[in-house]
């Protein structure tokens, strides 16, 4: 590919122009990341007087800790549920919206709103709705004989954070699915209709395979979201409880570091998370463009 090159007459100017961006990245990303890597190899005494270099002790302890392993499996359950729920609901909505002609813009606008809501506000919103004491949802559920209490029931708590986290992500997925659906030529659908495929069959044999690039992209984005961007929602609803039931990795990093003040362990956890992010991003870059092609 031919790229446009600009030749600066001044040798220093180009570097000067890059400085603000580089400074921000360095100060707010690279430096803290390196600090995290450094402190993940250290142990600090409770009063902060002395730090000792302990090699992989923090990592070793983590993988021997049933709480951490539990958190790993909770994260897997949480991320999978959020991804599946957010993607399937948004695909359903996108298909529905692409079928209505006149009001599709209105629906699209309304469906995108949740994305503009801050994660903590989303958490508070769902927390109110499902509050066992004053919430409307438990009140209705009691009518059906379901006793909802996410303060004591781990499954209820997990359901609550999954719902809240998915609700927010549905808007984002929806937009991509709508765009993906629009890029499928209408004549393909018509040809399939003439070829004797009913609406359901048309969707699964023509539309869904042609959406696969969008679907794969969203899959990666949603896993990323569920694993790393849901701190606010969990903090505002369950705070990892009850009994660690919703203590996913990203929340455990916070609670161990800032509440438990175990900086070494918390740093080790964030380094592990960082490695996961890097892996996911690599998969995305490598395969999104190439693998899912027809």
């Amino acid at each position: 590919m031919q790229t446009k090159r600009t030749i600066f007459p001044n040798k220093v100017l180009p570097y000067l122009l890059l400085v603000p961006q580089l400074a921000v990245t360095l100060v707010f990303f690279i430096w803290p990341a390196l600090q995290a890597v450094k402190s993940s190899f250290e142990r600090e005494d409770p009063f902060g007087f002395k730090t000792t270099f302990v090699w992989f002790e923090n990592y070793r302890r983590l993988f021997a800790d049933p709480n951490y392993l539990g958190s790993l499996s909770k994260t897997a359950v949480f991320a999978t549920s959020v991804t599946v729920l957010a993607m399937s609901v948004s695909l359903l909505l996108a298909v529905a919206v692409s079928r209505v002609l006149r009001t599709s813009r209105l629906y699209t606008t309304l469906l995108v709103w949740p994305y503009a809501v801050a994660p903590v506000v989303v958490g508070v919103l769902w927390w109110f709705m499902f509050n066992p004491t004053i919430g409307i949802a438990p009140y209705i559920l009691r009518g059906f004989g379901v006793d909802w209490n996410h303060r004591v029931d781990g499954v209820d708590a997990m359901l609550l954070v999954v719902m809240a986290a998915s609700w927010k992500q549905i808007s984002y997925n929806f937009l991509f699915f709508v765009a993906g659906l629009q890029s499928i030529p209408q004549s393909l659908i018509e040809a399939a209709a003439i070829d004797g495929a009913g609406p359901f069959k048309r969707f699964w044999t023509i539309v869904f395979p042609l959406l696969s690039p969008t679907t794969f992209f969203l899959l990666i984005i949603n896993i990323n979201y569920a694993m790393f961007d849901t701190f606010g929602i969990i903090d505002a609803t369950t705070q990892g409880g009850p009994a660690q039931a919703t203590n996913v990795l990203v929340y455990k990093v916070y609670s161990d570091g800032f509440l438990g003040l175990n900086i070494g362990s918390s740093s080790a956890q964030s380094v592990i998370l960082m490695i996961v992010v890097i892996a996911l991003t690599a998969v995305q870059f490598r395969y999104v463009e190439r693998r899912v092609q027809y």
Binding site: P185, L188, E190, I194, T205, S212, Y294
Partner: protein
């Protein structure tokens, strides 16, 4: 094998836009009918109504003597070839050909037999395992045709299938479509805006304009006796010249034209540079441009007196000079009399 009957069909789109006005057309079994007209004339809409891809506002469409207004496209047992081919990009050529048969629950051995037969007829056997994007335009076109013929439908519907091909390939595919339709004898409706394609393919030609049928007939009939000014201007290349009767009177032999004639159509190839020795009118004109195109030459002429521009098609090596004023002759028998207000032929 089936006839298609279109009776009093109307199409009104949302916002009260009428695309088709009360249209009647019968397509007998085995015939290839070409719908031709400028863009927006309703020809594609009509085709899509036959296919079941557009609803019919009023009137009925019948295929094989069954009213299909309420039937889904799949239940009409028709096949359509789209302008952009509409091949399923994620399936192999074989997958594309099989899709319609599989959806209808055709037994496996029957599918294989039909796909093999269609591939043989269209000479696409070497590409059966390729994806559509690995094929050239002409090959894709063949696959699209193959997808239509494997189903052995009651009718083929073609929606400008050749407009994405280059000129040479278009001519070639045109002949193949004609040959294929002749041998399969399947009732076909073919939509195009290309009048050459329309003339060469059609058993019967339907010229449409603004949602109405202007004229129906064999291509040569339409060429020789256009019923309306629109058909006169649309069929034939270069288009027919239209000259005021008042201008023609007194220029040559006595004109005896039907009542109400105020405009005469003159085909460019009926303008002669030598006196034909038959009753004719004589026009004097200045040659503005001499355009040799090989087999014939086109003269762009400005008529003396009226200053109107006309085109004449003359034999290739006619010796003329640009800028010269020359006499031209048109046999009175070659004039097409029209009335300007009704837009119709007067004889």
């Amino acid at each position: 094998m089936a006839s298609i009957d279109i009776s009093a069909v109307k199409k009104i789109y949302a916002g009260n836009v009428t695309a088709i006005h009360n249209l009647d057309l019968t397509i007998p079994d085995g015939e290839l009918v070409v719908l031709v007209g400028p863009s927006g004339c309703g020809k594609s809409t009509l085709l899509r109504m036959i296919a079941g891809l557009e609803t019919i506002t009023e009137g009925t469409v019948s295929i094989d003597e069954q009213v299909v207004n309420k039937k889904e496209p799949a239940e009409r047992d028709i096949a359509m070839v789209f302008q952009n081919y509409a091949l399923y990009p994620h399936m192999s050529v074989r997958g594309n050909l099989e899709y319609g048969l599989k959806n209808r629950g055709t037994p496996r051995d029957e599918i294989d037999r039909r796909v093999a037969e269609a591939a043989r007829i269209l000479e696409i056997e070497p590409f059966l395992d390729r994806r559509p994007r690995q094929l050239s335009g002409g090959q894709r076109q063949r696959v699209a045709m193959g997808r239509a013929i494997v189903r052995k439908p009651k009718a083929f519907l073609f929606d400008e299938p050749l407009s994405n091909l280059d000129a040479k390939l278009r001519g070639q595919m045109r002949i193949e479509i004609k040959r294929l339709q002749r041998s399969l004898k399947t009732t076909s409706v073919y939509v195009t805006h290309d009048q050459l394609e329309a003339m060469t393919l059609a058993d019967r030609l339907v010229v449409m304009n603004a949602g109405r049928i202007e004229q129906v007939g064999a291509p040569i009939e339409l060429y020789e006796r256009p019923a309306t000014l629109f058909v006169a201007g649309f069929i034939g290349s270069p288009p027919m010249n239209l000259i005021e009767v008042d201008y023609l009177r007194g220029r040559g032999d006595d004109l005896k034209l039907p009542e109400g004639t105020d405009l005469c159509g003159v085909r460019p190839d009926t303008i002669q540079v030598a006196d034909p020795g038959e009753p004719s009118v004589r026009l004097d004109a200045t040659i503005e441009l001499y355009e040799p195109i090989g087999g014939e030459s086109h003269l762009h002429l400005r008529l003396e007196g009226s200053g109107q521009l006309i085109v004449a098609a003359v034999p290739a090596r006619t010796a003329v000079v640009e800028g010269a004023t020359i006499p031209l002759f048109v046999r009175i028998a070659d004039l097409h009399p029209f009335n300007r207000d009704s837009g119709r032929r007067t004889d």
